[in-house]
Symmetry: C2
């Protein structure tokens, strides 16, 4: 990648983040009346739903705090992080310490789910905000929700089961995946060994149980000891999740100065790209069956924004770590597709959902899942990595 391209990409990511993504959400998504963030935004930012998804409250807090920690000490960002943190702490916790999935605009709980993702995103947001603010009470709450989340995750039977227990036990890749990144964020403000242990266990599971070199795939669901389960659910690959795990593990190797660890993520990166890339229309498919059999999910062949933002950072990091031009070529291929299809030239920010052929299927900019997270995270991390990639003495 030549120095001119690196500078060009830095501008694209930095300006996209600071002049487009963040302003769009600050302008349209901050609920000055009831606190927290509104995420059901139409193409032009008009609010079309006022319920507040708890995942996204935590994610917004993480993004504003991270900007404050990594870009500049802008008071507005710290204030917005506190704005979200206040809402999260006041309204999103149930009496048992677990969190809700959805609350009304004024913070009345609407829905609680059996999964622990609300808790993971809250832990991330609160930990990053504790780092930004130095607020020890926030730090204490981050640790509390992380520990409770881990307790629920590791104690069989505490979470209500989705299926009849015992018949076809399965575990999902999404959980070790998110535990890595959550623990990586937590250890910025807490030095207990639990984070390292959790990351080690999660990487072990991903590499030994979910990765299937003989199939050339990272599976989304396997048996308790990594058994391949030959059902539509067991055969399902989620390329976007494979891409996330790949860069979480590469980052862990960077953090530990353990290059071998980083390189162990490369097969799952390659599988996710090779398996996920749509040879016909370009872009990454949402789900793929490992045997090429039909996927049952309605959305299997849609192009979602987030696997593409994850692929941008994962391929760029792989290239940076290996200097292997294969990854640069993958990076450019993903870049062309993503920037050619997702940005909304008229109203800013990115569309989230395209049909298989790349036409826009949902004009909305936010919903229960899309908010301020995958896009700004990739913009920030690509920008900062590209700065590292500048030739020595450059700029």
């Amino acid at each position: 990648m030549d120095p001119g391209r690196i500078e060009e990409l830095i501008r694209i990511y930095r300006d996209g983040l600071l002049d487009d993504t963040i302003p769009f959400w600050v302008r349209h998504g901050v609920d000055r009346q009831h606190g927290g963030f509104l995420t059901f935004l139409d193409r032009d930012g008009t609010v079309f739903g006022t319920d507040k998804p708890v995942w996204l409250q935590g994610r917004f807090v993480w993004v504003f705090s991270r900007l404050y920690n990594e870009v500049e000490r802008r008071q507005e960002w710290l204030d917005l992080a506190r704005h979200g943190s206040d809402f999260l702490l006041a309204n999103c916790f149930d009496a048992d310490g677990r969190m809700f999935f959805l609350v009304t605009r004024d913070g009345t709980p609407l829905r609680k789910r059996r999964y622990l993702f609300s808790e993971c995103f809250a832990a991330m947001g609160l930990a990053e905000f504790a780092r930004a603010s130095g607020d020890d009470e926030i730090r204490r709450r981050a640790i509390e929700v992380y520990d409770l989340m881990l307790h629920y995750h590791k104690t069989p039977g505490l979470l209500p089961p989705k299926d009849i227990p015992g018949v076809r036990p399965m575990k999902a890749h999404a959980m070790p995946m998110i535990l890595i990144v959550t623990s990586q964020i937590m250890r910025q403000v807490d030095d207990r060994p639990i984070y390292r242990q959790t990351i080690d266990e999660s990487i072990y599971q991903i590499l030994e149980h979910f990765s299937k070199p003989e199939l050339g795939a990272l599976l989304e669901s396997v048996g308790p000891n990594g058994e391949f389960i030959d059902t539509p659910e067991g055969r399902r690959i989620t390329p976007g999740h494979g891409l996330e795990s790949a860069w979480f593990i590469m980052e862990e190797g960077r953090y530990r100065g353990d290059r071998e660890l980083s390189l162990r993520a490369l097969p799952m990166l390659e599988w996710s790209l090779e398996r996920g890339w749509d040879q016909e229309h370009g872009g990454l498919l949402y789900f793929v069956d490992v045997k090429g059999l039909p996927c049952v999910q309605y959305e299997w062949d849609m192009k979602l924004w987030w696997p593409h933002t994850e692929a941008l950072y994962a391929t760029l990091l792989a290239y940076h770590l290996t200097q292997d031009e294969t990854w640069a070529a993958w990076y450019e291929r993903v870049h062309d597709y993503a920037f050619g299809h997702f940005p909304d030239a008229e109203y800013g920010e990115w569309y989230g959902y395209l049909h298989r052929d790349g036409t826009v299927s949902h004009r909305l900019k936010g919903n229960c899942w899309k908010g301020l997270f995958h896009l700004p995270r990739a913009q920030l991390m690509c920008w900062k990595l590209l700065e590292e990639m500048r030739p020595a003495g450059w700029a």
Copy 2:
């Protein structure tokens, strides 16, 4: 509609049913080893998943029994109905009398859900099979599951709530909708007044609570007394469900000799078609927001087979009842789209899922929802209605 067209359509539906749809499923979907029906079928009928969705077990039993009752006393159909009924009774009921949602190939329960649709389809299947077989024990079981279903439906708190209770109480149109058709099938073998009462109550709810003439729409979810709830969920229209309710009510009017009742279904038929029809690509959208705001579901703009099969019968029946050419024009429009897009010329049967532009998104022929039901029901009912529509003295 001229007599030649009527004869042509009779051939299309009758031959499609007897020479394509039924043989496809008899050839590929009957599990001779473990009983019941396999529904995860690839385009050519290859089995790609062996779990058995309970909804579909009941629906298959209904179809084979109905064919026996309405087309001809073919022993094969009666045997296949018993084949499904045996599996249903042996494997699909929980100890509390409620039913599972999914069982394994050998009948081990995998998943139970909070909704009562498994029970409704089982009641339909068993009642129709009791009519076909004259088996009094089957009749007793049909009544038992119907009564239990109604008890759960009408007793607040018996079913685990999806959301935190009390915050935003809503009721769904799908339930009164399915109660009409289930009760219509039950009363073929049981003369208790409960069926008439349930149908009256359901029609009242659909006309007074879910129909919104001022919005020109039948809503899918409203408050307990029909309150419009201005959220994405409350604004959602499901045209396919509106079409089903429309013809269930038209049929109820026919059964009672109450023409006024039948005609009361016409506005919801018109709304469903006008709201649901895709002006750009043709075909019926799966979900529409009543205010034209974004729908959040991934599949909102997909074209599914079943709203189209429901539209075929609903428009044909509306035309037959009113002789209004508007309905004939709608019928022909839906017919052109459906027969132009869904049938698989190479392997038979219909695709179930298309992208908005009409290209095939899922090559599969069956899954948890698509099996032997909407298509053969429409083929059978259109065929039989077209025979009624023959000019007097014709044929």
